[in-house]
């Protein structure tokens, strides 16, 4: 198996290391920077490194485009132009609408691993960066089912949890759970710096909560400038919502509404418990076999229906037949969850059997 990594930074380099160490893949890399190419080779993230996309993608079974958000669509197009018909092409961008809107190709599936670090650059790449991370995928009605299945399996084998999502939903969710926290981290350090100078050059000693909240402050300007811009509308809405909530809490505080503050805090505690619980689902793996018509988009439809209900597909297999129907096998963790998945798939008008 040959995997091409288009852009060998922290994410691209970590995909390369994981694909080599866990799958024994032959990994080739593209990067415009000669220094990055050299480091990628030295770190073992790639076996061959090229200054041309075409050379890197030649003969690849998978191509991962890891470029800043603002150049993603153009880079994915270049890769699709030179990639083989059987090659699965994906990207790792933190915003999904722009690239999903620009690219319509059966070989392409947008993607976004929820992994990263304070660091950047291939010198910090690690094979286990994606271990147990959610990896969003945005299949569409033109996506080839077998491409989705292969990408799903590859991502599972490098340790992550693939989950299908619509690009719009992805961007709205990320505005709240990733982009806004980055903005807040920046604002908090700026505010602490102001307090510092107002209090006579005192550098305030900070506690663990401040360090946690501001860990991501001042993340790479090129990367994050692009993300903020690409998701500007959703992020503006998330900021407006946050300002409204902060103002409402501020008014409770200023008017001494202790009961309101306690209720607000208890409700946050409950919200957090639910969010943590959703990260901790477990149980035995059940197999569902779904009889599907042989038409494009059916795999995307199933994956998205389960993704919407946050049901993780542990593994999937496609068994096409020469007739009008084939079979999709889905492995789902937990008995109750598997039953829910079965209902959701039936609701799509499909026949399901428990294996």
């Amino acid at each position: 198996m040959k995997v091409a990594v288009v852009g060998v930074g922290l994410i691209g380099g970590s995909i390369g290391l994981a694909a080599r160490q866990r799958l024994g893949a032959h990994v080739s890399g593209y990067d415009p920077s000669a220094a990055a190419r050299e480091t990628a080779i030295a770190r073992g993230a790639v076996i061959e490194a090229h200054g041309s996309v075409e050379a890197a993608v030649e003969g690849a079974d998978f191509a991962f485009v890891a470029a800043p958000v603002q150049s993603l669509a153009a880079m994915v197009s270049s890769v699709l132009e030179v990639a083989a018909d059987s090659c699965v092409v994906t990207d790792v961008g933190s915003v999904k609408r722009a690239v999903a809107g620009a690219i319509e190709d059966p070989r392409f599936i947008g993607g976004h691993p929820l992994a990263g670090a304070e660091t950047s650059g291939v010198e910090h790449a690690r094979a286990d960066l994606f271990q147990d991370a959610t990896w969003y995928l945005t299949p569409t009605t033109v996506t080839r089912g077998v491409a989705y299945e292969r990408l799903h399996r590859l991502i599972t084998r490098i340790g992550a949890w693939p989950t299908a999502i619509e690009p719009d939903t992805h961007d709205v969710v990320m505005a709240s759970v990733s982009h806004l926290p980055h903005v807040l981290a920046n604002v908090l350090v700026a505010q602490a710096a102001r307090v510092l100078s107002a209090e006579g050059e005192r550098l305030p000693a900070t506690g663990p909560s401040f360090r946690d909240v501001t860990r991501v402050a001042g993340a790479n300007s090129v990367v994050w400038g692009g993300i903020y811009r690409a998701n500007a509308d959703a992020l503006v809405a998330a900021i407006d919502d946050m300002v409204g909530r902060l103002t409402s809490f501020r008014d409770q505080l200023a008017s001494g509404d202790d009961a309101g503050i306690r209720e607000w805090n208890e409700s946050a505690r409950e919200d957090r418990r639910r969010l943590l619980e959703s990260d901790l689902a477990g149980g035995e793996v059940h197999e569902l076999r779904v009889l599907v018509p042989n038409r494009p988009g059916i795999v995307a439809e199933i994956a998205l229906a389960l993704g919407r209900a946050t049901i993780d597909i542990v593994d999937m297999g496609l068994y096409p037949s020469s007739g009008s129907h084939g079979t999709v096998a889905l492995w789902i963790r937990g008995g109750v969850v598997a039953e829910q998945a079965e209902r959701l798939v039936r609701d799509l008008g499909l026949e399901v059997a428990r294996a």
Copy 2:
């Protein structure tokens, strides 16, 4: 040495464990809850546990009051009423103005260790909770110098870094670096929960940055309700400042001001670097010997002057004499920092010698 812990929760219990394990102290505890007293004994956080403050504080050299912020002043007063003249009394509350304004006693020094955890209760107490933590102290002009010296040394010996600060400054700084991050964590989880229900019961998979930022969401309502209330004015000001900064970023984003966003991000990166640096000061320890007049408040004055410049006093010693002057020895880490400390102490009109 006998240490009394008035309130054996996470913080009080951890002080007890640290004092026993690191200083071999005899630790007695007070708690209104019989269950907490039993657990404190079982965990070894205290040797004796009482349902009466007087019994717990009897014969103590130090008393640490670890009660919710709203009952601190009353509890500190009760302790001072029954404590011996030689006993040093302190508290561990997260807000300092109220207690500093209510108590005027040469034996009392307000305190606040920047340590905590997601957990609460003596069952989670640990002897190393304060290792390398900043421990704020708020000595005043009525504080007995020898009380400050003894408390400073005890805190150093349980692994923390005592640093003197004015109560007002403390509360303003904490509003920005601790209380506001807690508020933001609550608002972020509430927002994520809203996105969740708006997107069809989807529980959004969250990445590491979201988990970091929301770790403290929904912290204990009694404890945090009291903190928010006690620091309401400073926290309202910090929220107003944050809303202003968020709105300004939002407008840059909505108008596509990429250069402004980049500059804002770079400046946050720089702010964070400076904040981290201030946590990492190191070097050889230098001794300064300061000739001081024998009058109350002089030790507080020196400690606060160095605290304002964020100079940590590694250790201090008081050498009173029978005349009108005595000597205060200060141990300061780093040559440049020691020189700065020397200048600051001279600026107070005092004579300094390098040992």
